[in-house]
């Protein structure tokens, strides 16, 4: 049977496909894939005495990565990211639950009130915390005035302070997926559970948490991974005492000028990300709920 060549191409989709998908493809290849591949290449290079990158293969950078000093920082990064995630879940879950289960028009307002703070620049908000917690900050002034303490308390430059800042920056990424998951929860299931004799606390662990676990998973991914890279939080609130892997990378590119070493450190971050995302997918997580 001879195929006809038709004048118009109703389903002939080469041109429309090219017009629609072409730009985004170029963008992703040029500004996402190529740079990342280049980082991988660079992580196997070295520098000369003028800090220029020398393109000759060496695994030297990777051998530097296992030094005890660095190991300590990796440990610290994971600890801070872990604590941040846990605190975000503990605070974010009940909070999202209350908002999502609010019945009337107030719900939308409550939801907007969560988002509004994040329209102010994140640096300046973190700096707000520093102003609040510093030695001559508001909290200490208040405590001194009330004579609760006789000397200013050192709130800053501690692991806890960095965790606080991280939680503050990242908690919306926990609240939003949790809110979505909890809102989808069918109220009649809770009634059914109660009807079948479960006390509220049993209902929480048997019904509510399992059914909203997708929100917990995607929220955790969205908190844990960026936390490793938020160098400015530990810069401002940790003052060098709570360095994380992000700070190490930043320093290689901005002050120490050892780009290949910084690239190798970034590869670690990429690997951690890949492992966590794979684990997330294994656990049945949906990539699309990782957006915003």
């Amino acid at each position: 049977m001879e195929k006809k060549k038709s004048k118009h191409e109703f389903r002939g989709n080469t041109l429309p496909a090219l017009v629609t998908v072409g730009p985004v493809t170029l963008l992703l290849l040029g500004l996402v894939l190529a740079p990342l591949i280049f980082v991988l290449v660079m992580s196997f290079c070295s520098t000369d005495e003028f800090y220029n990158v020398v393109y000759r293969f060496t695994a030297e950078n990777y051998s530097k990565l296992v030094s005890p000093d660095y190991m300590k920082i990796y440990g610290q990064s994971l600890l801070i990211a872990f604590l941040t995630t846990v605190v975000c879940i503990l605070l974010g879950y009940p909070f999202s639950y209350i908002i999502a289960r609010t019945k009337n028009k107030k719900k939308k307002l409550l939801y907007m009130l969560v988002i509004i703070p994040f329209w102010t620049n994140s640096l300046i908000r973190i700096y707000g915390w520093r102003t609040f917690l510093g030695n001559s900050g508001w909290l200490n002034s208040l405590l001194l005035k009330l004579q609760i303490v006789s000397e200013p308390v050192d709130f800053l430059y501690k692991t806890g302070t960095t965790v606080l800042g991280m939680v503050y920056c990242l908690i919306p990424f926990m609240i939003l997926p949790l809110y979505t998951a909890i809102e989808k929860l069918d109220g009649s299931l809770l009634e059914a559970s109660g009807d079948l004799g479960a006390r509220p606390i049993r209902t929480l662990f048997e019904i509510i948490i399992p059914l909203t676990s997708s929100g917990i998973f995607s929220g955790s991914i969205m908190v844990f991974i960026p936390c490793l890279g938020y160098f400015f939080v530990s810069n401002i609130l940790g003052g060098g005492n709570t360095d994380m892997i992000g700070n190490l990378i930043e320093r290689q590119f901005k002050s120490a000028n050892n780009w290949p070493l910084g690239a190798a450190l970034s590869i670690i971050l990429i690997l951690v990300t890949l492992i966590l995302v794979k684990a997330y997918q294994k656990a049945g997580g949906d990539m699309d709920s990782l957006g915003l």
């Binding site: 049977m1 001879e2 195929k3 006809k4 038709s6 118009h8 109703f10 389903r11």
Partner: protein, 369 residues
């Protein structure tokens, strides 16, 4: 009546999937033609080729004598009522219905007049400012029909338009559609898998099966003289047996079945020793307590099923096959377990060529050659 749509030798192939095979249909002006078949038989594809959403792989489609393959969907003087209604969610009912006229750049005052008139015709007056999401299924259906009809197309294509409605509403809409079609005198090409719907509404029905038209005829013809085994079983209930023609005289063939010989009316296309299929509608079946000449079937009454105005009698033949016989309720009936002799008026039964027989014959010829 003139021809309005001519489909000639149309084939549609997707990759290795031959969806429509050598299709030839001529639709007359003002006709209500139904494409009937189960899902995947190619009926919707055929409709979409007429609308212009799909292109025939080969063959031509003419509307009003003109080939239309080169025309875009928006250049064709046909309109479609979609199965999903496809109402524009962001436009009001008024704007939905006005859309086609707006595209034709009809003056605003005329658009308003015609839309309101059309809305009255489909009993939707007062719904102008609503959005599709605020309507019930039946109302959406009316909007979809109004939106297509307002353009006064030469041909209206309807793709299972009533599929999503419940039974009662569907019956009501069937009558309404038929009334609209007669009133506006527009050619309808209607796709459905519901044989009852097809029988109720159509002037002619094309029964499609595996991309081929098995039979194209009036509802009565389709029901009373099915051309293929598929048509006989797809439309209505029937008792069907395969057998061999053993003799023919005066337009009546004697066919020997597994359970004995029967008599069936036939035409000249049948020959002795041909394999053929006998189809008898349950309401044409009779039975007697004594043997009837020419019929060798013997059966045992198994069960009675009461379905409103009629009573269905299930009888079983010696080989285990079951027959359905319909009786008007209230008649005297033999007891369950008693022996009866089924028969029928030879003219009431249909003899159908058996395709598998043709294959055997072809194989024989190959073997001989």
């Amino acid at each position: 009546m003139g021809k309005i749509v001519e489909i000639e030798g149309v084939n549609k192939i997707y990759g290795s999937n031959h969806v429509v095979r050598n299709l030839d249909i001529t639709v007359d002006e003002g006709e209500f033609l139904t494409l009937l078949g189960s899902s995947g038989c190619g009926k919707t594809t055929t409709l979409r080729m007429i609308a212009g959403f799909e292109e025939p792989t080969t063959g031509t489609i003419k509307v009003e004598g003109e080939p239309i393959e080169e025309k875009e969907p928006f250049e064709r003087n046909v309109n479609t009522v979609f199965q999903s209604y496809a109402l524009f969610p962001h436009k009001t009912i008024f704007d939905n219905i006005a859309y086609g006229l707006k595209m034709k750049k009809v003056p605003k005052t005329e658009i308003k007049e015609r839309v309101l008139e059309m809305m009255e015709m489909v009993q939707l007056s007062g719904f102008e400012h609503r959005y599709p999401s605020q309507l019930s299924g039946g109302q959406k259906q009316r909007v979809a029909i109004a939106r297509a009809l307002i353009n006064r197309p030469r041909v209206l294509l309807l793709d299972e338009p009533l599929g999503a409605l419940d039974l009662k509403l569907r019956k009501q809409m069937q009558l309404e559609l038929k009334r609209l079609q007669k009133k506006l005198n527009i050619t309808f090409i209607y796709v459905t898998h519901d044989q009852e719907e097809a029988l109720t509404m159509s002037d002619r029905i094309a029964v499609m099966h595996d991309g081929v038209i098995d039979q194209l005829a009036t509802p009565t013809d389709i029901y009373e003289h099915p051309a293929t085994r598929f048509v006989a079983t797809f439309i209505g209930e029937t008792n069907i047996y395969d057998g061999c023609v053993t003799s023919i005289s005066d337009g009546v063939a004697t066919v020997t079945l597994e359970n004995g010989a029967v008599k069936v009316g036939c035409d000249d296309s049948f020959s002795i020793l041909e394999y053929a299929t006998v189809s008898v509608r349950p309401e044409k079946m009779r039975f007697s307590k004594t043997p009837i000449e020419g019929f060798e079937l013997v059966a045992v009454v198994k069960d009675y099923i009461y379905v409103g105005s009629v009573l269905k009698c299930i009888v079983s033949l010696p080989n285990g096959n079951e027959l359905k016989i319909e009786r008007l309720a209230g008649q005297e009936l033999p007891k369950i377990g008693s022996k009866i002799y089924p028969y029928w008026n030879p003219e009431d039964a249909v003899l159908i060529h058996n395709d598998s027989y043709k294959i055997f014959k072809a194989l024989d010829e190959i073997r001989l050659a």
